[in-house]
Symmetry: C2
Subunit: 374 residues, 2 copies
């Protein structure tokens, strides 16, 4: 058997951590968690942090300890991990299709009868298939209708479809119809404050129309949930959404940092880094031992967390930096921090968060839902 | 504990495999393996397939059964996996730095005294540190000097540096100096045949100069190894390289498929796919349940393996297709195949290869070295 390899031990100094490692700066992480708690209190909104960003039960526990009402995730397999680790309220902000997945979901609901497990739907046939499986497997689910609020991906587009789905849901004895899920995903990364705000004004209007149609049909809609790190203050401010789902705020990345900051929104700090070693040094060129298998590049190249150096090339296992100005000298064996461009798919490449406080490893937290694509 | 989830069972039909799943088409895989065997015989070159592409001991076994002299990998953790699964000749085509990594390597060498384990170096201090650790840990290594043949990443640039390193290596009783590693990585993806060939002519010239310098210093250089799927016919044809390291050829991806095909080189077929389900269908828009956590996009978007549809958006867990012309109709629940743009980082996202022959699952092969970044 290959040896299990853990990149550090508690008490190690940061510079002794094996590389490439996913580093969580605990001071910044704690500050981000506290800022979200304050924001939620100020905005008077329920926060259900999205765990697809971190995939880590320990982080979910801390988010819930800071007032989170539960967590979101995207996959049934992620829900399985979080439920098994004692997270008692999990909403899958996504649909599923096919007997294999729906049966797994119904069985998961049965295995955790004391937990709340929620799922989104946007199709009547899926509602019926899932209801039959929940009945035969004896599983209970919270069910939300997904409303397409501009993402053009999943969800129904009209209030009439929402009502038809809700009627089907309330007929199923194993389902509790909870309300609407409406996530304006692409709005999270629009750079301008007004662009983001305008997108959420439109999303909230669509959600409000659907809620009115439900009310006219005699159907309660207790929850309207959505919003991410880039827009949650606008969903909360709409007074139409009563629950928000920010995920990246605990970690942050260079893509979110490119957004124009809203003076009325909390400012989150980079708490997520990839630690890499300088494995080759030639003149003004430093080659690091971290590449495409240590961070994703879908939202751009990672950025050095120090001045004077720039990423000029990335391959599967290497990143090449070149000196571009004043900054630290690098020598063979030095360990340096990079800031990922997109936290979610970067975290998904790693098995461990190395949680560091003031340069010392405080804990190792497994990324337990890593690879939970099913 | 969360349930272990395996996306299929032997005998399942392709359309019953859970999604998103990594699919290996065994007919095409077998054909690719056979074509490499024929090419190696024709070119009279040793083939040491690169296992960083597939990270799967079962695939390595089949490559060796088809004449491979061993495998390459990039990380000590990958080598640990392959050695533990009985692969008896592993070359790490990369350097390592730092006590933690070098000690792990020395201990790994001791754990497999009957295997050959090779490593590259490009720094005298590392040679000395690794030699001391191999002596104290009682581990034996094959050691190669990496020559920078145009990749501008790791490796030494001059024949004089090669000789200095080789002299240091041969002084170490736990090392066997094997020769040179010279990999022109960026040349693999140059589109034109002549661009790729010219890059390897230059690489082979540099390797030949280094070999001559070693000979002048009285040092044997038994192996000159390098080359990937895009260029290995040129390394082999140089008569200077005597070992090549193609990796992607067993799987292939859209990026390699964009290369101009050399009439004298074997033609490899796409054997790697991601199977995804249509989870939402609205008019000419199909949303699939596979996103950035199921394939990498560093080399572009994945391509549908069928006509008439185009990828228009990818997010963490979703891919949106739009109809662009004549092609199959898609309905909710349909399962479709996508061709990844870059096989290596895509495979690294998955825990299983679902190996399929003529539409039926023949085997499930774990991607055992997935995430072996250390």
């Amino acid at each position: 058997m290959p040896l299990q390899w853990i990149p550090a031990a508690e008490g190690d100094r940061l510079q002794d951590v094996d590389t490439p490692a996913l580093i969580l700066d605990l001071e910044r992480f704690d500050a981000n968690v506290a800022r979200m708690r304050e924001a939620a209190a100020h905005l008077n909104v329920r926060v259900r942090p999205h765990a697809k960003s971190h995939k880590c039960p320990e982080i979910a526990r801390r988010q819930i300890a800071a007032g989170g009402v539960g967590i979101c995730c995207q996959k049934i397999g992620e829900a399985d991990v979080f439920l098994s680790r004692g997270i008692g309220d999990v909403l899958i902000t996504n649909e599923a299709v096919g007997d294999r997945k729906l049966r797994r979901l119904a069985q998961l609901a049965r295995r955790y009868p004391d937990a709340r497990l929620g799922m989104c739907v946007d199709d009547l046939n899926v509602v019926e298939a899932l209801a039959a499986l929940c009945a035969s497997e004896d599983g209970r689910l919270d069910v939300y209708v997904e409303l397409d609020v501009g993402q053009n991906r999943c969800g129904v587009a009209t209030a009439a479809e929402v009502v038809a789905l809700a009627r089907a849901i309330v007929r199923c004895p194993n389902f509790t119809f909870m309300g609407l899920h409406g996530y304006a995903g692409s709005a999270q990364h629009r750079r301008g404050v007004s662009e983001r705000r305008d997108a959420i004004v439109a999303a909230a209007r669509a959600a409000d129309e659907a809620r009115a149609a439900l009310a006219a049909a005699g159907l309660r809609c207790d929850v309207i949930t959505g919003g991410g790190t880039g827009t949650f203050v606008y969903e909360a401010g709409s007074r139409i959404y009563n629950e928000v789902q920010p995920g990246s705020y605990v970690l942050m990345d260079t893509d979110y940092a490119c957004n124009e900051q809203d003076a009325g929104a909390p400012r989150f700090e980079h708490a997520l880094f990839v630690l890499a070693s300088v494995m080759s040094m030639r003149g003004d060129r430093a080659t690091l031992d971290a590449g495409l298998k240590a961070f994703s590049t879908d939202s751009g190249l990672p950025a050095p967390a120090f001045s004077g150096w720039q990423v000029t090339n990335i391959s599967d296992e290497h990143t090449v930096l070149h000196r571009t100005g004043a900054g630290p000298s690098l020598t063979l064996g030095d360990k340096v921090l990079l800031i990922p461009s997109h936290c979610d798919p970067t975290v998904n490449l790693h098995d461990w968060f190395v949680a560091v406080r003031q340069g010392t490893v405080e804990a190792l937290w497994p990324v337990e839902a890593r690879g939970a694509v099913f």
